[in-house]
Each structure stands twice: as structure tokens, then as C-alpha cells.
Amino acid sequence: MRKGVVILLITIIASAISLLFWYNDIQYRLPTPVPQGYHPVTTGAMLNLSGKLPFIHNNKPMFLHFFNPSCPCSRFNIQHFKSLVQLYGKEVNFIVVAMAGDKDMTAEKIQDTYGLAIPVVLDSTIAANCGVYSTPQAAIINTDGKLYYHGNYNKTRYCTDKRTNYAQIALEAMLKNSSLPGFDAAAGIAYGCTLPRCSK
């Protein structure tokens, strides 16, 4: 009798644990819900970001990294982002657009925390201008001020699949003055945290 109870208990617990793992995994696997009143911004559109971004006189394209310190997903690919900065920092102006985090969050604090020697902008409206509604997301603006690419960095959260390094591929294409390669759907579907606060 007791053995039966024990077997039942173990079965229930094992199932519950599996369910928990599954639930947690599936939660991050689902696309970020599109917010109400969202206005999509297509690539090639001219962006009006005057006054929102620091003025840099070097006539280089801009790479905007939408980031939320309180969003786990933003932390997943920070290493990948940093590697892009290191690779293309001379050719591209990298700017971190930090979403609403803690109240006492400052640009310096983010720079110190993540070791980023690039500008950090604390203006969440930029995301809407770029058609971004989750973090982490990338937006590449060419020298003409047009949106060249906005979407995911990679199919995987840690950017472990080099074939799907969408942001990097788009950046290189832009630098080569090539047209934006045709990405699969995964490049454009947001999976990260919602804005302005992370609900995952």
C-alpha cells in the first residue's frame, strides 16, 4: 500500500518537475505579444530620431541595441552584442537604447555593469520609432538615416547559431553596401521581453 503511494508520489512529482521545466521553456519560446496600437516600421523607412540620439559627426551607420537590464533575455546575448561592438565599432556607431529599468538606473551604471564604452540612451520612445516592441532587439540605420534592419540578433537566445546571426549578417551587408539579405521569419518575430517592462 505504502509502496503504491510512494510510486504515485514520485510519478506526480516527476511529472510536475517536467511540467515546470517545460512551462518555463515554452514561455520563452513563444513570440512576444504585439502591443496594442503598434505601428510597424518597414525597412528602408526614414526615421525621425532627431534629438533622441547623441549627435555624432562621423557619417557612420548606427546600430541601436534595445536593452532592458531587468529582462533576462537582454542579458542572454550581451556577450554577442559586445563582440559586435568589438568587431564593427570602428565602422558603426553602436548605441544602447535602455528601456525602463529600475528608477535609479543611469547610463553610467549600465556602462559600468556591462563594460560598455558606447553611448547609452534612456529613451524608450526610440523603440516605437524603430518598430521595436521587445528586448533584446537590434535596429541598423544606414548613413542615410533609413532603417536598414530591425529584428532579432539570432535565432537562439545566446546567439549560438552562427547561421542565424541576423543582426551581424545585416550589418555586414550594409557595410558592403549590399541589399538586405532575405532572412527567414525567425529574424523578424520578437521573442524577448515586452516593453517597457519585462513580463516573462
Binding site: 512529482i13 510536475a16 521545466f21 512551462y23 518555463n24 519560446r29 542572454f76 537562439t156 549560438t160
Partner: protein, 749 residues
């Protein structure tokens, strides 16, 4: 086959489990805490509390539900794997989190069970394989920082992990074995120590035992020496007492032969009675001492049991007659005629019991019965009953009977005399003969002493009178007249065995009545002492009617009336009647019927020769007496002179040897203990010399059996114990003389 685990090892395992459980409590708490800490990194709170909590619930739930089972330990293995998975998940596939698999594996060593590694190992490998497969299959594991898994890497990881689990399992196994071995060795050591202690104790005991044994041996030797000294003392005392007793008794006997006044006769009687009593006391004490000191050995030989019984009857026949008590005996037909046993000691017991019975019986009878109780091949168990119609013994005093120096009460000693040793000696002698003695008694009605002995059927074929047929006389009628029922039934049984037809009469009057109607009797046997009408009166009346019928009188010792009426009886037999005598007499009387009375008496056989000088004429001998004691010298000279001899006297052995060289003596009566040269040495000297060889008879107060053997061993021909009984001496002298005459007549002319 299940091997029995020793309790100590079981206890050790229980202690190990308890200790490990406590340790695991801390570890699980730490794991849970780690889960919470890891949750801070990526906000995996649900996982930290959910998975961590469920893992703990699984472990403690099983432990609670099956406390006596070790299943919760196997669940623990899986739980540790779950925690590892949780931590990997929480840290988004952080490679270092895999170390928790190995930490869990080492934690499990605490239980010292290699099997506990299995659930963890299986979990880790399945987890790794599943996620690798999922990742490689393109499903994509969200929480991982690795892009893909290579099979080679998986195999290396799996092998190394397996190796670690294997090593941890091996370590658990070795640890358990080592501890069990250690416990086993500790137990063995404790056992050996205990054994050593016991051995030491045993050695000490052995030494103590040896000391005790040596002491006991010393004590035994001392006791043996004391016993030997006691025996020597007894022999010396016996000799020293018997020597003067010889003088007293001998002189009293001689004095009785002279003319004395009635008063002097009384005095002599008292002296003789007292001497006899004193001698009995000495003999009793000597016997008792010998038995008590273990020196009493049985002299086993083939003997005729009936003769033994009849000799006892002879001893008491006179006394029984004087008291008017019937002394009767019966030996059942199944009892073997000859048995191998100690004739002397059996006789001693019977003499004691019959003597006691007569002592305490004033009227009635003393009946001795022998029966066969048991046979086992040649071994027989005989039962003896000595029944009397005496005063009896009170029940409460029966148990004191066989104790030494104990009579029924002190008044008994005063009234009846005796040392109180007789029954004690008898009891011990019977015990020596392999039997037991018991007594039944009723005050005023008499006693019955029963005893048994074990013996072997004798080999010497003797005449069986009991089964003899009186050839040609079968069926002849015999009238038996006796007032004693026992006697009547014994005679009836005996006569019937001889194929005769007995008719019984309890009195003279009844006998006459029978004869009035039936005169067809070929033989009449009558008792002498009967109330109203005695044997004489009855015989007279019978003779008036039947002058030719043979009449046999059963008389008592000392009864002189028989000799006064020789014309009345054809034969007179002394009671108790011996079977052989009765057979001969009946056969004689029935053979040539009818015939006139011709007096035959067995008294002839028993009558002692009177001291007369004619004896020496009839049995001529040259006698030398070697005796150092002057009183005894004088006594011997007087007896021998009265018998018509002229003995020479030697004061010691050397003188006897010298005198033998000068004169050829037919007989030397040799004392054993003498100065200069004792009797034994003198005999040996004589036997070794080439000179004339006389008959040498030892005459000594040394009454022990060993002395007799010494005498015969030294070359003596016979042995007479002091105090010397004149009858015994006369018998010996006659025997020697007849022997010499026979030898001389057989020599070639």
C-alpha cells in the same frame, strides 16, 4: 543464498545511515538555497522554488512513507540529479553547473552503497543525451549557451561522468567493505582477547586443579598410609587380644573338665559365656574395621549353597532346641545347588540374621528361605528371607537398624547383649556381594529380614537330593506329624518332589484320627516337641496298633529322650533336618519294609569327642608345640596331655628347628609370632631343608585372611585360629594322624 549479517555490522550500517541522513538534510537545504541564489541571475524563481521544492518533497515524502526501506536513498540519487538539472537550467546551461552531478555523486558516498550511484548516473546521462538530441535535432533548447552537441563530445562527457560515478561507487563499496572488515577484525580481536583471557583463566584453573590434584593425591597417599597403619594396628590388636583370650578360654574349657562344685560350674559358665561374647565383639569390630577401611575382599569360590545353609542351621540347632523354637529352612527347587561366591561371608550374614532372630524369638519359629530372583545366563540373583515370630521392631526404629553400634534401643543391649555391629556388618557384606538388605517387621508378630546377593552358577556337579527319585518307592504314603505349619509344608513339598504321597497332621491327636481310618502308611515322620501329645506318646500309641511301620522322630539337639526309647523309632533326625540325611533315612526305611526299629542317629556325626587319653591311642602322633607365650604353652600341653599325647615344647622357631633335627615329629603346632625366629621363617627353613618334613599347622591369634595366606605360602599345611577350639584341634589332630597312617600303609614294603 542470503548471508547472515552479524549484529555488529548491522548496527554499524544503521549508524552510518543515520549519520548520512543528517548530512543529507544539510546538503539538501544547501541545494535548495543555491537554487534560490541562482534564481537571482535570470529570475528563475518558479524553477528555484518549484523544482527545488518538489525535489525535496520527493525525498522527504518517500523517507516518511517508507522509513524502514532504503528506497528514499535511491530517490535521493535522482533528486540530486534533478537539482543539477535545475541549476543548469537556472544558469542557462552554464557548463560549471554540471559539477553538481559529481558533487551529488560524492555526497552519496556517505551511505557507502555503490548502487546509489545508479539513479544519479542514469539521470545525468539521460538528461545529457536528451538535451543533446533535442538541441541537435533543431528543436533548440532555450536555456543553453551551447550551439550544438557533438557525438564525440557527448561520448567523452558520458564516459568521464560514468567513470566518476564508477569511481564513487567503487569507493562506496570499498569503504563499506573496509569498515565491515574493520568491524570484523575488531570483533575477531575482541573474540581472540576473550579467548586469550579464557585460556589464561583456564590455565590458571588447570594449575589450581593440578595443585588440588596433587593435594588430593597427597591426601590419598596419607589416607592409604593411615589405612595401612590401621590395618597393621588391627592385626596387632587382634593378635594381642586373642593371645590372652586363648589362655582364658582354653583354661576355662579345661577347668570345666575337672570336678567342680555347682557354684564353680556356674562361674566357669560365666567365664566361657563372657569369653565367647568378648570374642564375638572382637571379631565384629575387626570385620567392621576391615569393611570400613576397604580391606574386606570376598573369597570367591564354588560352594554348595545347601551345605552352607545347613551349617548355619547346625550352629543354631542347639540354641533353637533349648528355646523351644522351630528352626526351619527351605531352598526353592530353582535355586542352583552350587554357586560361586563367598561362602564364609554369606554364612556370616546368615549366622548374624538367624542369631538375631533366635535372640528375639521366645516361641514359634525361625524360618530361612532361599529363592531364585533373577537369572542372566550364568549370573543369578538369589533372595534370602530370615523370618521369625519374635518380638518385632517398631516401625520408627527400623531405619536405625543397619547403622553401626545402633540397636533398637539401649535397653535391647542390656537385655539381649550384642555390639550393634552385626547388622551393620551384614549390610556392608551384602553390598559387597552385590545385593541389598531390607526388613519388614510388626511389633509382637515378628520380623522378616530379606536380602539379595549376586552370584554365578557353580560348575561343580553335586548331588541333587531335591530331584532324586526314591527308586521303587514312588507313590508310597507317608504321614507327617508336626505342630509347625511351615515345617509341615516344607516336608510335604520335599516328599512330593521325591514322588511320595504325604499326609499332614498338625497334632498327635489328628494323626491318630487319620490312622484310625487309614493305616495304609509306609512311613510316619513325627516331631518330638508338640503340645498335648509329644512325639514319644504318639509313637507309643502308634506302635500299639502298627508295630512294624517305620517311625522317624524329628528331635532337637540336646534332646536325650530319643536314646531312651530306641524301640519306638527306626531313626531320629535332629532338627533342622538336612535334606541329604532325610533322603538317606527315608530311602533306608522304605527299602526293606517292614522291619523292626534299628536306631540310627545323625548325632554321631556331630558329637565332639570327649577329652580322653584314648584319643592318642586312636590317633597316634609325635607333637611339637612351638609357642612363646607361657600360658598358651601350658594350655596346649594340658589339652594334648588330656588327649593322651606327650608334646614337646619349643619357645621359639629356632628351638623348634633344632628339636626337629634331633627328633622326627609328626606334627608341629606352630605359633606365628615368636622371638628369635617366627613361625613363618621356621617353616620356610624346615621346608627348604632336606630333613624330615613334619605336618605343620599354624596356631595363631592373627585372624586376618592375609595371615592364613602367609602361613600356607610359607609351607604350612593348615591353620588354626586362636582362641583354639578344642573340637577344631581334635579334628585337625585326627586328620593328620589318619593321613599319616594312610600314607605309611601305601608305602611299598
Amino acid at each position: 543464498m542470503m548471508t547472515e549479517v552479524p549484529d555488529d555490522i548491522k548496527n554499524y550500517n544503521i549508524a552510518t545511515t543515520k549519520r548520512s541522513d543528517r548530512l543529507i538534510d544539510y546538503f539538501l537545504a544547501l541545494y535548495f538555497l543555491l537554487g534560490i541564489i541562482f534564481a537571482f541571475f535570470y529570475g528563475t524563481w518558479l524553477i528555484a522554488f518549484g523544482v527545488g521544492g518538489l525535489a525535496l518533497a520527493a525525498y522527504y515524502g518517500v523517507k516518511f512513507l517508507l522509513p524502514s526501506s532504503d528506497m528514499y536513498q535511491y530517490v535521493l540519487g535522482a533528486v540530486l540529479g534533478v537539482f543539477m538539472a535545475q541549476f543548469i537550467y537556472q544558469m542557462h546551461g552554464l557548463f560549471e553547473m554540471h559539477f553538481f552531478a559529481f558533487i551529488g555523486s560524492t555526497i552519496l558516498i556517505t551511505y557507502q552503497k555503490w548502487k546509489l550511484q545508479l539513479p544519479l548516473a542514469i539521470f545525468v546521462i539521460v538528461h545529457h543525451a536528451l538535451f543533446s538530441y533535442l538541441q541537435n535535432s533543431g528543436y533548440g533548447i532555450y536555456f543553453t549557451q551551447v550551439g550544438y552537441f557533438e557525438l564525440q563530445v557527448f561520448i567523452i562527457h558520458g564516459s568521464l561522468a560514468t567513470l566518476i560515478f564508477l569511481i564513487c561507487g567503487l569507493w562506496s563499496y570499498q569503504l563499506r567493505k573496509s569498515n565491515e572488515l574493520h568491524i570484523g577484525q575488531t570483533l575477531e580481536m575482541a573474540r581472540l582477547q576473550k579467548e586469550a583471557l579464557l585460556n589464561e583463566q583456564s590455565k590458571l584453573n588447570e594449575e589450581a586443579l593440578m595443585v588440588a590434584y596433587e593435594k588430593a593425591e597427597d591426601a590419598r597417599m596419607a589416607a592409604e598410609k593411615a589405612n595401612e597403619a590401621k590395618s597393621v594396628f588391627l592385626a596387632t590388636m587382634s593378635h594381642e587380644i586373642r593371645t590372652p583370650m586363648n589362655g582364658v578360654m582354653g583354661m576355662a574349657s579345661l577347668l570345666a573338665q575337672t570336678k567342680l562344685t555347682a557354684e564353680q560350674d556356674d562361674y566357669i559358665d560365666v567365664i566361657k559365656t563372657s569369653s565367647d561374647a568378648l570374642l564375638t565383639v572382637i571379631n565384629d569390630i575387626l570385620d567392621f574395621s576391615k569393611i570400613e577401611s576397604g580391606n574386606m575382599d570376598l573369597d570367591v569360590q564354588d560352594f554348595d549353597l545347601r551345605i552352607c545353609i545347613e551349617e548355619v542351621m547346625d550352629v543354631f540347632a542347639g540354641k533353637a532346641a533349648t528355646q523351644g523354637v522351630d528352626l526351619v529352612y527351605q531352598i526353592e527347587t530353582m535355586v542352583p545347588t552350587n554357586i560361586i561366591g563367598d561362602n564364609i561371608r554369606l554364612r556370616q550374614v546368615l549366622i548374624n540374621l538367624v542369631g538375631n532372630a533366635l535372640k528375639f524369638t521366645k516361641e514359634g519359629e525361625v524360618f530361612v528361605k532361599v529363592k531364585l530372583l533373577q537369572t542372566d545366563g550364568k549370573k543369578v540373583k538369589l533372595g534370602f528371607d530370615v523370618r521369625d515370630s519374635g518380638i518385632g521392631i517398631p516401625a520408627e526404629k527400623l531405619n536405625r537398624l543397619f547403622k553401626a553400634f545402633s540397636q533398637v534401643d539401649s535397653s535391647t543391649t542390656r537385655k539381649y547383649g550384642g555390639t550393634g555391629l552385626g547388622l551393620a556388618i551384614s549390610e556392608r557384606l551384602i553390598k559387597l556381594m552385590g545385593g541389598t538388605i531390607s526388613v519388614e517387621s510388626e511389633v509382637g508378630r515378628g520380623s522378616n529380614f530379606s536380602f539379595t546377593i549376586e552370584a554365578v552358577t557353580g560348575t561343580e556337579a553335586k548331588k541333587l537330593y531335591a530331584h532324586f527319585n526314591i527308586a521303587g518307592n514312588e507313590g508310597k504314603k507317608v504321614l507327617i506329624v508336626d505342630d509347625n505349619n511351615t515345617n509341615l509344608s516344607i516336608l510335604k513339598a520335599q516328599l512330593e518332589l521325591w514322588k511320595l504321597v504325604p499326609t499332614l497332621a498338625l497334632s498327635g491327636k489328628q494323626a491318630l484320627k487319620i490312622l484310625e481310618t487309614n493305616q495304609n502308611f509306609q512311613l510316619i515322620i513325627t516331631d518330638m516337641q508338640m503340645p498335648m501329645m509329644d512325639g514319644i506318646d504318639l509313637a507309643r500309641l502308634i506302635r500299639q496298633k502298627m508295630p512294624l511301620v517305620p517311625l522317624i522322630l524329628l528331635s532337637s539337639v540336646g534332646d536325650e529322650s530319643r536314646s531312651k526309647y530306641p524301640q519306638l523309632f527306626n531313626a531320629v533326625l535332629t532338627k533342622p533336618v538336612k535334606q541329604a540325611q532325610l533322603f538317606k533315612v527315608i530311602q533306608e526305611q522304605l527299602k526293606d519294609q517292614p522291619k523292626a526299629p534299628s536306631y540310627i542317629s545323625n548325632a554321631e556325626m556331630n558329637s565332639a569327642e570327649e577329652l580322653s587319653a584314648e584319643f592318642a591311642v586312636k590317633y597316634p602322633l609325635n607333637i611339637l608345640v612351638a609357642e612363646d607365650n607361657l600360658v598358651n604353652q601350658k594350655l596346649a600341653r594340658l589339652i594334648l596331655t588330656k588327649l593322651g599325647y606327650t608334646p614337646d615344647m619349643a619357645s621359639h622357631g629356632l628351638e623348634a628347628v633344632r628339636m626337629l633335627e634331633e627328633k622326627e615329629y609328626d606334627l608341629i603346632l606352630m605359633d606365628m609370632r615368636m622371638p628369635e625366629m617366627d613361625g613363618l621363617e621356621a617353616t620356610r627353613y624346615i621346608r627348604m631343608s632336606n630333613g624330615y618334613q613334619p605336618v605343620i599347622i599354624a596356631m595363631t591369634a592373627n585372624a586376618l585372611k592375609e595371615d592364613k595366606e602367609l602361613c600356607l605360602g610359607s609351607g604350612m599345611n593348615d591353620y588354626i585360629s586362636k582362641p583354639i577350639k578344642i573340637e577344631v584341634l581334635i579334628k585337625s589332630l585326627a586328620g593328620v594322624s589318619v593321613g599319616l597312617i594312610t600314607a605309611t600303609s601305601q608305602q611299598p614294603a
